[in-house]
């Protein structure tokens, strides 16, 4: 079973993003929720995580800081990261790509957008 982290400081956003990605292909994944990048970092140390889906604008360690921190740590340098942001535009996609994120999705995502995003990662659900 895949372990996935969804990070957002908003309960509403986490629920919405989770629902979309479950419909899009993560229904069989074990999903951990985090309120900021620091909680993501704790979860990364506790579990084998196959995918991180994170908001950008969070208190504490934000999405940019999280991606930067993950890419500078050999343990997480290859862990795929999807950024979900209300401020998604081509400039943000370029910036996040340069930092090491695999994809940027506009908030609120649709299940179709989430599915396209997972497809770009060649995501294959693993059985339990």
């Amino acid at each position: 079973m895949d372990n996935v982290i969804i990070a957002d400081d908003s309960d509403t956003a986490r629920m919405f993003v989770r629902r979309c990605f479950e419909i899009a292909g993560l229904a069989e994944s074990k999903i951990f929720e985090a309120r900021d990048g620091n909680q993501v970092w704790e979860l990364l140390g506790m579990h084998r995580i196959q995918l991180v889906i994170t908001d950008l604008n969070m208190p504490g360690l934000d999405g940019r800081g999280l991606v930067t921190k993950m890419r500078s740590d050999p343990r997480y340098v290859h862990t795929p990261v999807i950024v979900v942001s209300s401020a998604a535009n081509p400039q943000l996609q370029q910036e996040m790509g340069a930092l090491g994120a695999q994809a940027v999705v506009k908030k609120p995502p649709s299940p179709e957008q989430a599915a396209r995003c997972l497809a770009t990662l060649n995501w294959r659900q693993r059985s339990a």
């Binding site: 400081d9 908003s10 309960d11 509403t12 956003a13 629920m15 919405f16 604008n57 969070m58 208190p59 942001s85 209300s86 401020a87 998604a88 535009n89 081509p90 400039q91 943000l92 910036e95 506009k106 908030k107 609120p108 649709s110």
Partner: protein, 154 residues
């Protein structure tokens, strides 16, 4: 709420264009996040049970503050659409309104400028009328029933 100093030249909003962008972002956000169209939002004419407020500051590409006012009844309809069966609480009401203004702001700014990075502050919320530290000299307003979205800038 203070607006931080930008690292590059800011765009100056055109009030007419801003109003169009605000209206479009409002409609799109409600449709995509709460599955409510503009008529459903506008059907709540008053806030008999009070209002929920949220504010967010945009630092770039436009320096402005956005304030969203929604009646408790409208927020509760949103909660029902999002979390069917959940009993509304003050905490979840404020969370929903913060997420709405965050999404509205991002949508507005992304449509205003595709080739500039967008810098948003963290949304703040309250059940009381918020005090603007830096209200700005200009303002633009969109109203749908009991919902009011206001932008202020210098």
């Amino acid at each position: 709420m203070t607006v931080g100093a930008p690292a590059f030249e800011l765009l100056s909003p055109d009030p007419t264009q801003l109003r169009q962008v605000m209206s479009r972002a409002l409609a799109t956000t409600f449709e995509e996040l709460t599955f409510m169209d503009a008529d459903a939002v506008a059907s709540h004419q008053t806030g008999g049970a009070g209002y929920v407020y949220a504010q967010i500051a945009s630092r770039a590409p436009v320096a402005l503050a956005l304030t969203l006012q929604m009646s408790v009844e409208l927020v509760d309809d949103c909660i029902d659409a999002l979390f069917s069966g959940m009993e509304p609480s003050p905490i979840i009401r404020e969370d929903v309104v913060r997420e709405l203004i965050n999404t509205i702001a991002g949508s507005m700014l992304a449509s205003l400028c595709e080739d500039r990075l967008i810098e948003l502050g963290l949304p703040q919320s309250s059940m009381e009328v918020p005090t603007m530290v830096d209200p700005g000299e200009h303002h633009q307003l969109v109203q749908l029933g009991s919902l009011v979205l206001e932008a202020t800038w210098r």
